[in-house]
């Protein structure tokens, strides 16, 4: 569980938000929406323990990310995946390298499983056989999907994605919705930052979400699989 207590952020001498309380339970898919420039990416960074908030604290799994031991905050980040809004396309770097980095950052994936898992994830993202494609040759939507595949490769417990749905394109909204719900059923927490809530997704507690400072917080309904 990730809990933000009275967090506030100041950027360029402007208070973006203050006194914000949020909680993201295990096995939950949440979407934080808000207009451009309201600090959605910053909120994700604060929730991941990457950027100290100007007020308040974030507690993940019972551990304070900013007032606790740095190693514990590092362990939380290691257990979480992040899909940035845009990632730099380093010249000469391929999709394979992205998977390699992801694997290096996470638990070691057995050699036998590696190839199979990579292919499976790339196929899921509609990019079978893309392993040796150069990152610089990928479109925005392909980059978003390949970045998600690389993060899922090491099976993070928490997943933070910034503008993933918007970048992946509307054709992928349903598939990604299904994927996130499946992850939630495995007990994983997914936090998305988007400008608008995806139309075809269903939120618990109404279509308006809950107002949280400049944001709206939506919690996706995750139907539990009934025991047959």
């Amino acid at each position: 569980m990730i809990e933000a207590f009275h967090v506030g952020a100041v950027s360029r001498d402007r208070t973006l938000w203050d006194g914000l309380d949020m909680a993201f339970d295990d096995g939950e898919v949440c979407v934080v929406t808000g207009p451009a420039g309201c600090g959605k990416s910053l909120l994700l960074r604060v929730l991941r323990g990457e950027r100290r908030p100007d007020a308040g604290d974030v507690v993940a799994g019972g551990v304070s990310l900013y007032r606790g031991v740095p190693e514990e905050a590092g362990a939380f980040r290691a257990a979480s995946g992040v899909v940035p809004e845009s990632f730099p396309s380093v010249a000469g770097r391929s999709v394979r390298d992205l998977f390699l980095l992801s694997e290096t950052a996470g638990e070691r994936v057995p050699a036998k499983e590696r190839k199979e898992r990579r292919e499976e994830l790339l196929s899921l993202m509609g990019m079978p056989g893309a392993l040796d494609w150069k990152l610089s040759s990928l479109s925005v939507t392909e980059r978003a999907r390949v970045a998600l595949a690389a993060e899922l490769f090491r099976g993070p417990k928490y997943l933070f994605a910034d503008m993933l749905i918007a970048n992946a394109g509307c054709e992928w909204t349903d598939m990604l919705g299904g994927l996130f719900r499946a992850l939630a059923r495995e007990g994983k927490t997914v936090v998305l930052a988007e400008r608008i809530f995806p139309e075809r997704w269903k939120a618990r507690g109404g279509e308006e979400g809950t107002a949280k400072g400049p944001f709206r917080l939506f919690r996706i309904a995750v139907p539990r699989e009934s025991a047959a």
């Binding site: 990457e50 590092g74 362990a75 939380f76 980040r77 290691a78 257990a79 979480s80 995946g81 992040v82 990632f87 730099p88 380093v90 770097r93 390298d97 390699l100 980095l101 992801s102 694997e103 290096t104 950052a105 996470g106 638990e107 070691r108």
Partner: protein
Amino acid sequence: MSGFSLWWIDGKLLPGAFLREAAGRFFLLLLLGAYFAAMLLSGGMNRYLSERWAVTAVLRPSVTDVEGEGIAKKAAGLPGVRSAVYKDPEASWKEFLEAYPGLETLRTAGGTPLPGYVEIRMRPDRFAEADLRAMESVLAALPEVEKILSGGEILKGLLRVNLWVNALFRAGFGILAAVTFMLFFLQEKGRATALSGDFDFLRDRGIPSRRIALSRAAGAALAAGILSLAATAASVSVLFLLEARLPLLRRVIGSAGEILTLPFLVPLALFLLAAAAFSGGASLLGWRAAQSRRK
């Protein structure tokens, strides 16, 4: 987090550049290893001089062959002495005639006019004024020894030149080592800069910078250790090959076979360790330089 995969992260992400750098490093370490092995064997100019230069202990005419052999044995046991050979008056006379033919008439009916002597050669690593003087003082105190011929002022001058030449050799090695270190550092800095985006990726996912830097340094040290072992083995093999074809090399440097003895293996092992340590240091410094450049 996987332990050793970070050690080789550079090689996995930039295999081409990594291999090219490794080839360059091997060549530099080959030069350095050959220089070091040659210096170790030769001791600079010491080997050459100790081969050429002999100290002569001239014995009194009354000294018998048994006494002469005894003095040679005693001299051979002195610290720093490589060999001490007794030459009886007859052998001494033969050598004299070889050097100055036609002087046979100098020999009287009583026998050879020359006394016997002991020819002493120093070990290359002890061919220094203090060791020579110590050896001389022991022999000069013996009643059977008439005088010691060691070269006097000429030897003093020679030892001074030897000192300077050896210092030059060492300085040459130091410069080559410094250039090698600098090139390692530049390679590491360039690679750390090229991979900065990838390191950011890892940092964002909870791997501390310190861990990345130390793991890369450990990988660089291990790789350099292996490379320098291969390079030194190759350079010693070259010495073995050359020594069979160039006898002069053997006189100047010494027998390559000696490198396989303990007194030479220990400094060689230290050389390998130093190469590994310097390479690890270059990796850390290169990382630091690349990071500070980004700030």
